[in-house]
């Protein structure tokens, strides 16, 4: 029973390290489960100390202590550690990640980069080497897990009727000159929350809103010529904020549409955001893990050595 509880503690904390972004690790239910299991371990340890389970009980003390330390690490971080944070920045931006004393560089990206979705985030530590997080990959730095999480993005291009390129800006975004839509806003449309972003085309005194619709999210679009993939909806306003005549159009990724005196194209793909999650103290995990495993090995070894040798078959031979 004690070994099962110890194994459960190790498994629960192991899950915390493996999937650190799950918010449930900071919930009271997780803490309660650990406390109950650790109380079982403590109860067994106290009983074993008085010889309740004989030698077996004493041999199991070390793995139980190790599991207890691991459980304490999980409990401390679950209760005191910060919730996971996701840092989303425009291409070319830098964010300071103070948990690991580093700066995260979000590289510049063009339409091809967004379409392929293969841009990684570089994390440069003050005293260490640079760490490149490719989309989906995770790295552990001390008691922090860093992961590059791909997020839907669109590279927006605007030209005039002659095909001459026009500057795309984001007046309400710190990354003023980024033409990449990160869809960080949700707008209610038709009873659903639709990811949206906004831009300006200052050379034509136009404001542009871009809405993202995932594949299959709008029934009936196939009947209207859209072949089932994701698409964007453009809405063009004049400088007074009024929709220009004919200023709404939908388009799949990579296709130009002509609206509001502009030719607009959005290349859909992904751009990574940086997920920063705390994990239980690595020092405690290593300490507890070493004691747990070492204790298991030691107990197993001692158990094998303590077995009495088996009696020979047929009894003894008496010679009278």
């Amino acid at each position: 029973m004690a070994l099962i509880a110890a194994g459960a503690v190790v498994a629960l904390v192991g899950a915390y390290v493996a999937v650190p972004r799950w918010g449930g690790f900071h919930a009271w239910e997780y803490a309660a489960a650990l406390v109950v299991l650790m109380a079982l371990l403590a109860s067994y340890a106290l009983g074993a100390r008085t010889g309740r389970d004989g030698d077996v009980g004493r041999w199991l003390m070390l793995p139980i202590i190790g599991a207890f330390i691991i459980g304490a690490a999980g409990l401390i971080d679950g209760l005191l550690g910060p919730d996971s944070d996701v840092v989303q920045r425009a291409p070319g931006s830098v964010a300071v990640v103070s948990e690991v004393r580093a700066a995260a560089f979000f590289p510049a990206a063009d339409a091809g980069d967004i379409g392929r979705g293969d841009v990684g985030i570089t994390v440069r530590r003050r005293n260490g080497a640079a760490l490149v997080l490719t989309p989906g990959s995770r790295a552990y730095v001390g008691a922090t897990a860093l992961q590059a999480v791909p997020r839907v993005a669109a590279y927006v291009e605007a030209t005039d009727d002659a095909g001459e390129r026009l500057t795309v800006t984001q007046p309400t975004n710190p990354a003023f000159l980024s033409p990449v839509a990160l869809f960080s806003t949700l707008v209610p449309i038709g009873g659903r929350q639709v990811p949206a972003d906004s831009f300006a085309i200052p050379a034509r005194h136009r404001a542009l809103k871009v809405f993202y619709f995932a594949a299959g999210s709008i029934p009936g679009l196939q009947a209207r010529g859209f072949a089932g993939g994701p698409l964007v909806l453009f809405a063009v306003d004049d400088e007074h904020g009024s929709l220009v005549p004919g200023g709404i159009a939908a388009a799949p990724s990579g296709r130009f549409v002509a609206i509001g005196g502009l030719r607009l194209r959005a290349t859909l793909g992904t751009y990574p955001a940086l997920a920063v999650s705390s994990i239980p103290s690595p020092a405690l995990l290593w300490l507890g893990g070493a004691i747990f495993l070492g204790g298991l090995l030691s107990a197993g070894f001692a158990l094998v050595r303590s077995r009495p040798p088996s009696a020979p078959a047929g009894g003894t031979l008496c010679i009278t």
């Binding site: 100390r49 004493r58 001459e164």
Partner: protein
Amino acid sequence: MPLSRNVLVTIVVAVALVAVALGVNSYFGGNGGVIGGGGGGPALLAGTPAQSYAVASLGGGSGSLSRYRGRVVLVNLWATWCPPCRSETPALERLYRQDRARGLVVLGIDQGESAKTVASFVRAMKLTYPILVDEEQRYGGSYAAIGLPTTVIVGRDGKIVRGIDGALSFAQMREAVDPLLRSTSPTQG
């Protein structure tokens, strides 16, 4: 061999003390939280390496900031539709003509427009300093531009000395580059 009671208690107490110390230290040993750095303007970039991208050059072929490594470069991010940018160009041209012999490079990097649009404006204004056409707006994104024009002064070592948003007068431009031109050190002003 089973552990004696005293040894066991000693181990438990010692381990518990170590565990508490390590656990507490990991929460109070450093700062927490992510500080956003996506905004704040180019002034925050002082001291950092200036990013360089190969983009189209109005003179033909491609060009980049790194081509001017070893010289003092006044990088001007601009666009033809931007009134303060247009009003600034005569001062930039004047500065370039006066200080070119002292090793100054004025590098205009147009943001987001096509070469034809830029060339038409450059011809009309009779500009002679090098112009790059950054259709993808990479420089603007990397230099934390919060508007146009944005001026970034890059030292001989390729690091940003100063970032300024908004139009500059000729006197302000001269004040920004003179200390670097006078100095023989890569970054000293």
